[in-house]
Amino acid sequence: MGMTITEKILAKHSNKEKVSAGENIWVDVDILLTHDVTGPGTISVFKQEFGKDAKVWDPSKVVIIPDHYIFTNDFHAKRNIEILREFVTEQGIENYYDVGSSRYKGVCHVALPEEGFTRPGEVLFGTDSHTCTAGAFGEFATGIGNTDAAFILGTGKLWVKVPETVRFVFKGDMPDYLMAKDLILKIIGDIGVDGASYQTMEFAGEAIHQLNIEERMTLCNMVIEAGGKNGVIAPDEKTREYVKSRSNVEFTEYFNDEDAVFSAEKVYDVDDLKPLVAMPHSPENVDLAENLSDVRLDQVYIGSCTGGKLTDYIAAAKIMNGRNVMVNTYVIPATTDIMRSLWIERVDGKSLYQIFYDAGCKIGNPSCGACLGGPEDTYGRLNGDEVCLSTTNRNFPGRMGSKNAKVFLGSPLTAAASALTGKITDPRKFI
């Protein structure tokens, strides 16, 4: 019986010839990622358990990217950044992207690949549930809590249960009105927010390999919204090109054996799909955008690790070019690299920045921003009973601030179209 991509990666990292779904194993960790919300707690557990003078197992494998509560006056949030700063100095951790410096990046899940820390075949853990984003590079990547992260800081190891793999195959050519966000919403709508609990979600098929790297990241990013442990996409030439232009570290590519065992396989034809929206208050509460055209919006939000990448803004700009938004529309790029690209990348000769500015969007600084609400002074946070369409990943009660707000999730195309009309709008109206 053969192995899946995930089984092969985990076998390699536990020095075993073979592992099978259901086994509990100890794995060696390639990269540990943390940020300003979960980093300080992780550091506290590390010092408590390994001693106040303890040293991390390998400073070159620890990456700390503050991104959550950055542009706020919250006292405790600022204090937490100082804790990270002291820790990286004390431990000699160079992979730190400090707030208020030219190294500042923004959202960790997008910054991590940009800075060359995601590679096929590796094991990545991060103290954030959307660490699964990096499965787009053909690696094992999943979110953990502070205690597990502190354990890794001290030992470089963690126990994992080898997950089964459920496979999603997308056939056909991606139409121009669909984005990765529509594909993952389709899956979550079909299987539910716990439909892939404890499992690897593998994405395959020609439509998947037509997607660029950022779109693949969007797919893997939301596997946690179906309860998945990790997402994975087999590496191809696009993966190699992206990774090799950012990292000099050698890597190994893993592919499913012919006789690998999957817990299930679902096949979709992208030609059958239409733009989708998840309604309040769950990512599984999915309907066609065209069925929701009477939903009036107060706000549109285009940002986050899920929907704040360059591909997302190019898509939105194509629709917004030469038009004006009807509602408060926030553009919060995931990273500083993407913010810079908004000035450089052009649609019909106009920079994306110019298009968004002329359309009347509110353009904010790169960070997680209002995706997860955050401190009350967070730019774009929903503080009352607003109705918002967002390109982010979750719409559970209170996710973007007030629990009285209503959050709908859609693709950047759907968000841009909806911003122009002030109602939920199928982007095909503008394409």
């Binding site: 506290s44 509560y69 949030a77 953990i144 809590g145 597990d148 309860g227 609400g373 009660p397 209170g398």
Partner: protein, 192 residues
């Protein structure tokens, strides 16, 4: 595991209670290790649950009274996929600080379960069926961790729980570090 029998008042929640409901994101800024700041996680535990779902079947119940940080409820009974959403360990920690000893849900989101076990914050138990509709907030209940059952003392009915399974050894040890020390993977830290 300290107790073989856990008894106390029950707070009832439904399906898919996510980590933002357990501890809203704006409260994640407090220190998890400062004794005073840590209390705030208890104060705001379950403050993100929509009012009509807070303390079923009627809703509108406070889990922690205004200004307090301990709850009168020691047991949470909930539906499926408890703790879905973010990886914040502050979620099981907040329930622990509020005084919760056990959660009985029909299933858990993976990271919440792992955090509960590895951090040793609360005992996450799985019921064999969805049972939250058989409890009312305020009912007295008793969990028997030897015979794997929860008894609703207010109705006299008992419900079976699943055995602890793979995580049992870590739960018995009291958390990941205690477990790893037993295995010799982590050495004991010299306490000054």
């Amino acid at each position: 595991m300290k107790n073989k029998v856990i008894s106390g008042k029950v707070f009832v929640l439904g399906n898919d209670v996510d980590t933002d409901q357990i501890i809203p994101a704006q409260h994640l800024v407090y220190s998890t290790h400062s004794p005073e700041e840590r209390k705030l996680f208890g104060r705001y535990a379950l403050s993100g649950v929509p009012d009509n779902e807070s303390g079923l079947p009627y809703g509108g119940m406070r889990f922690v009274e205004e200004g307090e940080y301990r709850s009168i409820f020691k047991i949470i009974v909930a539906g499926k996929n408890f703790g879905c959403g973010s990886s914040r360990e502050h979620a099981p920690l907040a329930l622990n600080v509020a005084g919760v000893e056990a959660v009985v849900a029909s299933s858990y989101a993976r990271i919440f379960y792992r955090n509960s076990v590895d951090g040793g914050f609360i005992l996450p138990l799985e019921s064999r069926e969805i049972i939250y509709e058989n409890f009312s907030t305020g009912d007295e209940a008793e969990i028997d961790t030897v015979n794997n059952e929860i008894r609703n003392l207010s109705t006299g009915k008992s419900y079976l729980l699943k055995p602890l399974g793979d995580a049992g050894d870590i739960i018995q040890a009291g958390g990941l570090f205690a477990y790893a020390r037993k295995l010799g993977i982590v050495k004991s830290v010299e306490v000054e």
